[in-house]
Symmetry: C2
Subunit: 150 residues, 2 copies
């Protein structure tokens, strides 16, 4: 893969979309993330997960979020990097072992800064989908975007 061309604020337009490659999540990765950051039975143990709300082993939502970031960094090459100011996240269904995730980003808003002429803020909608096209995470995020230097 060649390095993508960095995108400045001027290169973005409303409705612009970006799609990532896909990334497959393994049982061991789900358990390793959970051991480190979300040590709850339904993320760690198949038998315990069967009797939980999830009905089977499920990745931590924060694991799905972290994998989404990994895919975003490749798919959405904002100049200066992706620095999120915050946003909303929902998890309509869990990520399961063996799921192949991809992210679909759409530019929703582009707001130049009034006080800082070198930058603006954009708002994006990111849907993380499994191999069946089902959303495992939907987020809207505010991200800094830089103007092309003069």
């Amino acid at each position: 893969m060649t390095a993508p061309t960095p995108l400045w604020l001027e290169d973005l337009h409303l409705g612009q979309t970006f799609v990532s490659d896909s990334l497959t999540v393994t049982t061991e990765e789900i358990k390793a993330f959970a051991r480190q950051f979300d040590p709850q039975p339904f993320h760690l143990d198949e038998d315990a997960a069967k009797d939980s709300l999830f009905g089977g082993l499920a990745a931590s939502g924060w694991h799905t979020a972290a994998l989404t970031m990994r895919l975003l960094v490749e798919a959405f090459p904002l100049a200066g990097g992706l620095v999120g100011a915050g946003g909303e996240t929902t998890w309509p269904r869990p990520t399961r072992p063996g799921d192949a995730l991809s992210v679909h980003v759409e530019v929703l808003e582009i707001t130049p800064s009034r006080s800082r002429p070198d930058r603006g803020m954009i708002r994006t909608r990111t849907e993380t989908r499994n191999q069946h096209g089902e959303a495992v995470q939907i987020s809207t995020t505010r991200i800094v975007a830089w103007r092309r230097p003069a």
Copy 2:
């Protein structure tokens, strides 16, 4: 540490707060998380980070979110586990190497389910603070809470 008493929907009240122990983040942990999930220069390399928006090495916001979850699992022992339906997250300032993070949770809303008598939904505000008492993450999250079995 003894295992905390699990909390059912009936055990919660508005304004109830929980505070976690603190957890110190190392440079190596910041870089390891970034290599796996957010491989951008300002999360990976001190020199590159100096010239970035962050002015120095900064943890990925998703690393802060994952560490927050780790602290929450210990501090807020909901019966049946912590299963978030979604929420809003902001990062007022980055987590830095050596920061000692703790989480402060407050119960904002308690809404019994109308259709499912065994559960409800609560909304919490979670502030993740560094050792100076400054917020590195503020999130409001909707979480499933279960009624005590009859």
